[in-house]
């Protein structure tokens, strides 16, 4: 039960971030490494604001906006300064390390004693003792659901259609007299906003911000997106966003099983890398297949 709750909690948090990676990697075809910086950015913003006594729910909005700004930064580096996509992400990710340290003030900022969205007086006042274990997973689910529905709705708007067009066929966007650079920046802003939102929630769940939490975020994101969208590719009634969430849960389940069955955590990075390689080779083939078709 504990492990199931753990998988759901972690899976839901990273699914929020994976929704963002879905936009960049799958829709825009942009391998955006900035999420390794924006995930902890959301956490740093949340931890420092909570220490200042801000309402925990408001920190979600502030973190979301902070992530969007960082995403716009990556977009501007790529579109305006003509830096290659991968490099733009790396530049932003590296810069954010220092920015995150500045925001949090130090590398490890605990918020055990602060009110969070999962633990506050208002909740304590009416929740029975037994329900407390399930509060976190319930709230996470609600936040994730809200994010997913909002994203689904957005992709159906005019701007959302342009976003999808920008990934598939840039010429189409230009022929509609729209600036494809602007569309890319919008996509990156939304994607990184989701990553920062996930980081904000993650920190509130764990009770402390730690500068190292961002490392490898992109791997989890890509794995979730690719596992999810590949598995449910032919199931037409499942939306890609739902598939991504399933992918995130499946990925966390696999990692947790691996640890559970005694895989030494020293080997975890190797397993992750091999997995990542399989995923990349597989998605590369698919991309080539798409061009041939």
């Amino acid at each position: 039960m504990t492990i199931l709750l753990g998988i759901l909690e972690e899976g839901f948090v990273y699914a929020i971030m994976a929704l963002g990676v879905y936009i960049t990697y799958k829709i825009l075809d942009f391998p955006d490494l900035s999420v390794d910086g924006t995930f902890p950015l959301g956490g740093a913003v949340a931890a420092s604001l909570l220490c200042k006594g801000m309402n925990p729910w408001l920190t979600l909005i502030v973190s979301f906006l902070a992530g969007a700004i960082a995403g716009i930064g990556t977009g501007l580096i790529h579109v305006k300064l003509k830096v290659r996509d991968l490099l733009s992400g790396i530049i932003m990710m590296t810069a954010l390390y220092s920015v995150n340290l500045k925001i949090a003030g130090k590398a490890n900022l605990p918020i055990f004693s602060r009110e969070t969205i999962f633990e506050n007086e208002w909740l304590e006042s009416f929740l029975p003792e037994g329900a407390k274990r399930y509060v976190t997973v319930m709230f996470l689910f609600l936040i994730l659901l809200a994010g997913k529905l909002a994203l689904d709705a957005y992709l159906k708007t005019r701007s959302g259609y342009l976003l999808r067009a920008a990934g598939d066929n840039e010429i189409l966007v230009t022929s509609l007299a729209k600036d494809k650079g602007f569309v890319k920046i919008t996509g990156l802003a939304i994607a990184n906003a989701f990553a920062a939102l996930a980081g904000c929630v993650y920190v509130q769940m764990n009770g402390f911000f730690e500068i190292s939490t961002g490392t490898g975020t992109i791997v989890i994101g890509l794995a979730s997106v690719i596992i999810g969208t590949s598995l449910f590719k032919n199931v037409s009634f499942i939306k890609p966003t739902t598939a991504v969430i399933a992918g995130s849960l499946l990925y966390k389940w696999c990692v947790s099983r691996a640890i559970r069955f005694g895989l030494p955590s020293n080997d975890l990075k190797l397993v992750t890398s091999v997995l990542f390689l399989i995923i990349l080779v597989f998605s590369e083939r698919k991309r080539r297949g798409k061009k041939n078709a």
Binding site: I3, E10, S98, P110, E210, N234, I259, D267
Partner: protein
Amino acid sequence: MKSCSQKGLRKRSLALLGAVLMMGTAVLSGCAKKSEGATLKIGIGQFAEHGSLDNCRNGFIEGLKEAGYIEGENITIYYENAQTDGGTASQIVDNFLEKGCSLICGIATPMAQSAYSAAKKQDVPVIFTAVTDPIAAELANADGTPAGNVTGTSDKLPVQMQLEMIREVMPDADTIGILYCTSEVNSISAIEEYKEAAGDYGFTIIENGIQTTADIPLAADGLMKQVDCITNLTDNTVVSCLPIVLEKATEAGIPVFGSEVEQVKIGCLGAVGLDYYSLGIQTGKMAAQVLKGEKKAEEIPFEVIEEAAFYGNTAVAKKLGITIPDSLIESAAQVFDTIEQ
């Protein structure tokens, strides 16, 4: 988008293959390791892998043994290392809880915080060690009482004693340089303490913050030009690249003081250091108290180890043309006359 069904099928089977491979690895490695039979289960989570933390862990197991809890006889110990990854750390703790551990030991600050965060939902006691500042980590309240069902030992650096020792070895020195990693919160609090105390011994502290091990050579070069000697913290990033710093310091003729015995072995002139093994033993005994039910973790305030001792290296002193005063040599816990490569 449109592809014939055969191609779609192949793609799907590839994805499935990926998932199966992952599970396969998990199951295979599961067959390799199994330990059953003991009654009490204890999980030890360690945040990083290096000498002092390993000593902590071995000491912890020894401390439990001295109190009557012998691994494989009446307790089962699970050990996992997070390799400085926060995500892995929380997964490790979830896993310990699922296995039904009655106590979790968290070694180093982030691991202790992960353990406390996850274990408090089920009221499983957490014992930490190698946490430099439990109050800043919010594992303890400002008055030193536990923040929850969590207690342990702190490895606060004996800053005053170190400064006193440096003054004795180098009566004419004015400036002390410190290299540290900006992402290590323990180092930052140690530097503040150094700065506060340095004036009392007539020193000025010049610090240089780095972000990764790759920054060390340049940062060390810069620092050497400004200082009379260098002192080390227990900064994991810097300590793991200490040979580079030592090499550059030897070239410049600047002595480097360490913070623990392992650093003196490999070429620091001297150190007033903690014995991490006995820190571990002390922690193990606290854990035993909790396991026996004598006291709850939330009733025991955290303890700071006080037994610091001098370690010196005469081979280094000879190389630098410095004499370590006899009074220090006589009081030393250990003096080395070679430099371990």
